[in-house]
Amino acid sequence: MLARIRRFFARRGVLEVDTPLLGATVNPDPYVEFFTVPDGGRRHYLQTSPELAMKRLLAAGSGPIYQIGKAFRRGEAGRLHQPEFTLLEWYRPGFTLDRLMDEVAALLQVLLGERVAGVTTFTYGEAFREFVGLPWDAPLTALRSKAAALGIPDAERLCGDEQRHWLDLLFSVAVQPRLPASKLVFVRDYPACMAALARCRPDDPEVAERFEVFVDGVELGNGYRELTDVEEQRRRFQHDLRLRCRLGRVVPPLDRAFLAALEAGMPECSGVAIGLDRVLMLKLGCHRLSDVLTFPLQESS
């Protein structure tokens, strides 16, 4: 599988890069926990993804780049999760999200072969309406009733007043399992509140230029038209760090090196991360990530 990936990118002129797993700081995403590594009086961090390092390379003029490497996320273990897993991440300066999605589809079709019969695309709004039966921007009371009707226990406790939590919950429970089977399914045009590091559409700030790709309800990848505005990025980082603090989570240092690179200028680009263990799992017809990992740390039940 790895050889196929390398051939794919070699043919397209995308350079393979290798960035450190151990860093002076880490992405402050409030919903991704990281491992800290004590070193004398200092603290290092195992990377949860190569994103920030690869964007620094882009700002330095690397051109299109990809990386196959390990990522570490604390507290994630289950049928589809392991604390140490393999990501394929790549960035395409000058690509629109559409063009990147085509490339993702091409690669996944090479890797999955007959496991998937074709590609289907929904916007987030379409998928939500079709499989949940509501528009995604329906009022919270409607989302609450829907969760109750679907028999999701404890939804109120989980989601509170946060629309994005309700959307995530309903999407995971009602949309993902019902997406068309045995196909590459792209979901695009996410609501702005779920933008993460994506920029919002210049012509429609309610929509984030983000997509996810699924096969049989398993999320394989997450892609973005990358945010290049350093001030907006700084604001999002600060928001995340404050939220981490409020939630009682470890607060890593602000990644000044990354912000400096962004300030120096990162080209307009689209990027995507794919979970390679999940791709292998699907290809081999296995049902758990631990089935395709050598000596997994967490034996999932």
Partner: protein
């Protein structure tokens, strides 16, 4: 008070939910891309036997339950309690009708049962998978007809009523699967 965090959840774990001892049947970790993770968990309430589902934020904790399963021998019942003894320690416990439940109709002296103990108290009794019981009352049926087809009710020495083939007679001992309540075979003498 011992607790478990969601990242320790796995089938077989005994916990307290709403004051009742429960066992985890299934645990699913769900993480939406860039969203908060949660665990969807199916439990069986060990007191009521009912299956329920709950969802937890990743990292939440719940109370551990002091639940054990012990193999014990059925001794007798005094009309109010069913008495069991651990053949290794000779300790005895008394289970009430609620804990014994459906098992009551299969219990014969000395039967080895699985007793679920919560904080040392019996809350559930599981009879052995198979029991051999004498038929105390049944219609004559058709003597000698061993070709199968057709059945009749038969009352067993414990009071249970089971459907048996027509050739089974009063006084015979039959083997019953307690999980389905169905006749398995005659037990030869």
């Amino acid at each position: 008070m011992a607790t478990y965090s969601t990242n320790e959840f796995k089938p077989g774990l005994k916990v307290i939910l709403d004051g009742d001892p429960c066992v985890i049947l299934e645990n699913e970790f769900v993480k939406p891309g860039k969203g908060q993770a949660f665990n969807r968990v199916k439990f069986r309430n060990l007191k009521t036997g009912r299956v329920l589902e709950r969802t937890f934020k990743s990292g939440e904790t719940i109370e551990a339950a002091d639940v054990m399963e012990v193999e014990m021998q059925y001794l007798y019942n005094d009309g109010e309690f069913w008495h069991f003894m651990d053949p290794n320690t000779f300790e005895q416990v008394a289970a009430d009708a609620k804990a014994v439940g459906e098992a009551a109709k299969w219990l014969k002296e000395q039967a080895m049962c699985t007793i679920t103990l919560w904080n040392g108290e019996p809350i559930a009794v599981t009879p052995p998978n198979f029991v051999e019981l004498e038929v105390v009352e049944t219609d004559p049926g058709v003597r000698g007809d061993t070709s199968g087809g057709g059945s009749k009710p038969a009352k067993l020495e414990t009071g249970a009523v089971v459907k048996v083939p027509l050739f089974v007679q009063t006084g015979e001992v039959i083997k019953v699967d307690t999980r389905t309540g169905e006749y398995v075979s005659r037990v030869g003498k």
